[in-house]
Structure formats: C-alpha cells, structure tokens
Symmetry: C2
C-alpha cells in the first residue's frame, strides 16, 4: 500500500509518475489516480462546506478541483493532500499559516475572496459544537499586567520603521474618519482626531488622560489644537520612545507627558478620559476595572470616549489573528462594553459605529503596504509579508461584511449636565 | 400604656390635649410631649437617612422637625406619626401614595425637592439588602400577551381627553427633540419625528412597520412627509380608535394602517422597523423575541430604530411608578437592550442619549398639566391630580439628575452596507 499511501499524502506527486509503464500498470495507475482525485475532491468539498460554500474554486496543486455553485471570485490552491488534511483538523489556525508559508495560494483578489468567505460563513449557521471546539482548541493569551506587556510587545514593538511604511504620515494605527469616502488616509486620520476631541468637547486649559496612545499622535493633536495638557499611557516601549522624541521635536513636550506604564496604574484627576484602540487588548474581565478607573479619574463634569473594534455578538477573535497577529486581543460586543460603564454608573451618551470607515482605512493601509512589500521582505521575510497581507486583507473583509464593528462610545459621569444639547456641533 | 401608645401613633393628637390640667399633670404632659418630639425626630431622621439626607426639612404636622445640614430647598410634612411608621415600613410605595392622598405635603418646588432627593439617594450607596428587599416587596406586573393588554389598558386607556390636556397638539407621548432649548413642545415633537425618520433614512415608496404607535402621530408624520406606507401596531383600544379617526380626517388612511394587536403578532416584510416608546412595556425576557421579529421583518437593506427610556445600570423601575402609573414597565440598561440586537446579529449603528430632552419635554407637559389641573380634578379627583403631578415631577427629576436615560438606537441588518457615510445628514 505504500504507493497508495504516498498518493494519499500528496496528489501532486502522483502526477509526476514517469510515463514509461506497462499497459496493466498504466490502467492500475489511472484507476488509482481517479480514486485519488475523488478523495481530494471530497476533502476540498469539506473545506468548502466548512466555509459555508462560498463562490470560490478550491483545488489541490496539479490535482483535483471543485467548482462553486455560482461564478467563483477566486481560486484557492492547496499544495498537497496532507495540507488539506491538516487544515481540516484545525482550520481556524492552519489555513492562515498555510497562506503565510505559501502552501496555500490564491488566484484572484484576496480581499474579495475573504469577503465572500466571510459572508458565506456568516450565512451558514455553524453548529455550536464547532464554535466550542474552536474555543477549546485555541485559548487566548491572558491580559495580566505581565501578560499584557508581552502581548503588546509582540505586536507593537516589531519596529517603528515597519509601521511607518504603511500607516501614513500620522502614524495613527486606528480607524480613521472619512468626512467623505474620497478623503485621503492622512486627511481621514486628522478628521478622526478632531471628531474625537469634539465629541468630548475639549477646552483650552483642560487636562486629559489617554489610556493607550500608540505613537502619540492623538495626544499631540489634542495639545496642539485644543490647548489641553495630556498624560498618555502606553506599555509599548518602542511606541513611547517614538512618541517622546516626536513631542520634543514638535515643541510639545511641556504639554504632553508619555508614561510607559499600564492603564491600570493611571492616577490623578482629569477633565476627560480618552482611549482609542486600546480596549481590544484589555480583556472583558478587566472592563469593570477600566470603568471604575475612568470614574475615579473624572470630576463631576467628567466625560470620556472609548474607541474600539467590536462585534454584533460576543465571540472570540478569529484564532489565527489572536495567535499570530494580536495575542490576547478581543473585540467586544456592546453588551460586553457595557461592563465598563454600568458598574460605575457612567452614562453612555453617544455610540457611533464606524465599521465602513475602518474598511476604508484598511484599504489605504493595504495599498501602502503592497507598495512597500519589497522593503517589508527585506526587513523580515516572505512569510511575514504574506502573513501581514492576510491580516490586513482579512480585516478589510471583516469590516466590509459586518463581521467586525467599530464602536466610538462617548460617556460622562451620571450627574454631568454640562452636555451639548445636540450633536450638531460635530458637523458644523 | 394606652396614652403613650396613642402618642406613639400620632404626635399631632398629643398637641390637641386641653390646657385645663393640674400643675403635676402639666409637668407629666410636658415631659411626655418632649419624649414624643424626640421619638418623632428620630423617625424623621430615619426617613431623611433613607433618602440619603438630602437638603430638605422633614416635619410631623404640628410637631417635630428635623433640619437638613445645608439650606433646605423644601419642607416635607407628614400628617402623623402613624404615617411616618408606615412609610418607614414600605418607603418605596407608601411615600408616593401618601403624597397622592395629601397626607404628605410639600412646601417648596416639587421638582427641585425630588431632584435633591434623587441626587442624595444616588450618592448614598444603598446596601444591597435594601435593594433586594424592595425587589422582593414589589414584584412587577408581567408582560404576557394578556398581561401586556391589561398593563397598557390601565395607563393609556384612561381617556384621550385627559392626555389632550397636556401633551400639546401632536399628542406625542414620548421624549421630544429640542434643536435648541428654546423650542416649543410642538416644535420639539415635530423635530423628534423628523430626527427619527432621518436616522432611518426613509425614502418615498418604502414600507415601515411601527411597534407601538401611541395616538398615531409618528405614523402620520412618516406618511405625510416621507411618502412611506406604514403599518402601526398598538394594543391600546382608545389610542387605536383615536389614531384611525385622525388618519381618516387627515386623508392618510390609504397610507397608514393601524392594527390593534400585540407587536408579537407583526408579520410581513418592511424596509424599516420603528418603535418609539414601547420598549419600556416589553420586558427584558421578551427582548430576543422583539429582535428576531425585527430581523425577520427586514430585508437585506433593512434598518430600524428603537427609542426607549433607559438606565445607566440594570435596575427595577421605582416601585410606586410601576404600581400606580406604569404597571409592567421597565427602563432597560444598554446591556439589557443589547439582548434585542445581539442574538439576531443586528448591528447597532448609532445610540443617542436624549435624557436632557426628556427632562425638558416633561417640564412642558407638567406646565400644561398644572394649567389644566382644575379640569383634571373635574375628570377624576384631587388624589388623581396629585398622583400624576408626582409622576410628572418625579420623571423630570429622574432625567435631570441622570437616574433615567433616553436611548435612541439605530440598527441595521449585519450585511447592510447601504449606510450613510457620516451622521452629518441629520444636521443639515
């Protein structure tokens, strides 16, 4: 059975068998080849079915193919049957890894492919045991003080030069706000910062605490355009170093203090509490702590804003993303975000869902990333290039198909009546 | 011990003892009077403490008084010690009843009094056993199909003529929207209806289902100004009769159908699902049903709006209001409202908290109500006049102090990308 076994493992090898064979052997081999293709087709159909049968053609390299019911938007080719089997055993992580190492290849537009896969997966009600199996197979990283530091280090400290290649001149690594879809990335990032500042109505002379500040862009923007003092917390060493140098260069070091520390160690009193794109790394069980911290920081006219990737329903982050890209991350549903505000009697004043803006932001990032692919390859390797391409393309698809949301939540202390009468001031 | 017992029951009676007494008896009686005042003061202090020691003077009619630590905004007088004791035994309901029947009187502004009481109560962290005691003492009315019909009948069917006295010309019995605080009630109710229609971007020729439609005002507004067809559901017989007559009178009966039925019996497909001021009567355990019903009604470009009184934290409605005014009602926290949307994978697009607008709406209602008090008295009786005055004044205080919220939530089916790019269109 060794020949058959080998063909079971790799359909491709089978096609490389030399032609010089006897008629009987040729017949046997033809029958075997037919059997192999049949088995491969069965496996490909399982993959397609797991993904909700999207309009995608699936193939084994040099072997079997299965066509979609409707016109396919792309072809996905698996290097071998062994790969197919390993993917079926653990699809949540293996398919992403296989794309990264090149053993899964895609003909067609990667974003479009992922969009049809996400839509089909959402439409195909997965049995709950399958979700539970995924949850059991992949335990997310924990967000203890030490765990958070490690998780953040693994994403944000991989090199400021790398991020500078594709984040645009603002170095803002969060959803931008496009007043019109035609806005450029830099325009939209600047508009986002103004949108945030207007939502919490920053006034000159006020003080702001920022929980998670990336490369420091928003803190500088607030200080420069709204005349506020900012204390900005971040546990990414690389980001804090970059932000401090930038503040000094731009003459704002007197107004903005970057603190390399965990948000849990924030102390003092402030007029506003702002956190843009950190909540994803906090972990739901720490939400009440975050809320009570915000409550404690704020006086009776206190207000705040939390901006975070979210979901329509509580669900774990896609395991490949959690494992390879964002260890410990979790995009919350609104019922989960409520656990920040409700225990501390904070009033939610405004929630805006900006998911289409994040899809657009990510399209701009991916375009810049692709145009810098050679330099990324030189910094890291081809596997890294493909891995981050998949992450960016998958994120576009997540936001454009409604698998992911972006919630901007404005809140205030319960007894704060110093509130704008309407939201018209945001649009004039 | 009979004399002492009697004085324990009523401090006031004690002051009516005739002056013609012997010197010895006079001394005894003076000592007894001092003892009575001391006991009454102790009881008044318990009431004050239960309310978080607000800046209010508490008194027994013709007897003891306790002054507040800071300048009092009002004086609350209890008719007797017996009343004080019964209030302390069940403060949640008895104090409202006693105000209604005139055995508790208020000198000073009722709204201002209730505002300081609400603020003080919120600041004084009630022990959780006290909350549990209140929950156990007062079980809310249930919202089964029959229960809902009874609950709604008891509030909304008490007479269209009564509501017409103080709701303004729109007969809209929900929070208005004040583009500026100076807007009149009618202007603000009309602005609210436009705000709702713009939020769901109604287009001519579309169909709308409305769950709970009051006296039919919004349905007519949508038909007239946005050219949509509306099916509006309501289980209040009086309201539906009124709404149908109005639609006929205004020549809109062909565009608007009022259905006297429970929202749970909504069927058909619509472009938009709208519910303004019904959720308070749905009951949290029915929220997933409401959400799946909305999901089922809507096509792939479906969107909806739910407008409801809410809270910062899950908590039962004040028991007196639930018992005497709104049987079965519950203002949800956002985590509770999420149970409408999350199980049905509906995307929350926008949440606006309009609590200051509801305080303003209620101020306008209370002013109209007070100017029509004589007619209300003629329709019902003095007790009813005081009961509804307390309800309206208490509601102002609830919204102005942040004890109550008003959430307007816009939602859409998860895969609906036909969304406005920003919310600027609401303000131009």
């Amino acid at each position: 059975m060794s020949a058959t076994d080998e063909s079971l493992i790799s359909g491709r090898k089978h096609t490389e068998i030399p032609r010089a064979v006897t008629a009987g052997a040729a017949e046997t081999q033809a029958a075997e080849a037919a059997e192999v293709r049949k088995t491969d087709r069965w496996l490909l159909k399982r993959v397609s079915s797991f993904l909700g049968d999207p309009p995608v053609e699936f193939a084994v390299r040099g072997g079997a193919r299965v066509r979609a019911a409707s016109a396919p938007v792309a072809r996905v080719t698996f290097a071998s049957r062994a790969l197919l089997l390993s993917i079926l055993a653990d699809p949540w992580v293996r398919i992403g890894d296989a794309y990264s190492d090149g053993s899964v290849t895609v003909e067609g537009d990667l974003v479009e492919l992922l969009e049809v896969v996400y839509r089909a997966s959402a439409a195909a009600d997965k049995p709950s045991w399958l979700r539970r199996a995924a949850d059991l197979a992949h335990r997310p990283h924990v967000n203890t003080l030490a765990g958070s530091r490690d998780n953040i280090h693994r994403h944000y400290d991989i090199g400021n030069d790398f991020y500078a290649l594709w984040l645009g001149s603002t170095m803002a690594y969060t959803c931008a706000y496009y007043p019109t879809p035609a806005a450029t990335l830099d325009e939209a990032q600047t508009a986002k910062m103004h949108h945030v500042c207007r939502k919490v109505r920053l006034r000159s002379g006020e003080s702001v605490v920022e929980a998670g500040c990336g490369w420091g862009t928003l803190a500088l923007h607030m200080a420069r355009h709204y005349g506020v003092r900012v204390r900005a917390f971040n546990i990414s060493h690389e980001q804090v170093a970059y932000a401090r140098a930038r503040a000094a260069r731009e003459g704002l070091a007197g107004q903005v203090e970057y603190v390399e520390d965990d948000y849990r160690n924030i102390s003092g009193h402030y007029d506003a509490f702002i956190s843009v794109g950190m909540l994803e790394h906090v972990g739901v069980k720490n939400y009440p702590t975050l809320g009570s911290l915000a409550r404690r920081c704020l006086g009776s006219n206190g207000r705040g804003l939390i901006h975070s990737i979210g979901r329509n329903q509580p669900a774990r982050l896609q395991p490949w993303i959690e494992k390879r890209i964002f260890p410990g991350a979790h995009p919350p549903a609104l019922s989960e975000m409520a656990q920040i505000f409700e225990p501390s009697d904070l009033s939610v004043l405004d929630v805006e869902n900006l998911r289409l803006h994040y899809a657009q932001t990510l399209r701009h990032w991916l375009a810049l990333y692709e145009s810098a692919a050679e330099r990324v390859r030189a910094m890291f390797d081809e596997k890294f290039v493909r891995m981050w391409r998949l992450y960016l393309a998958g994120s576009i698809a997540g936001f454009s198909t409604g698998t992911l949301q972006l919630f901007q939540v404005v809140f205030a202390t319960a007894d704060n009546n110093d509130l704008p009468w309407t939201r018209a001031h945001l649009y004039t």
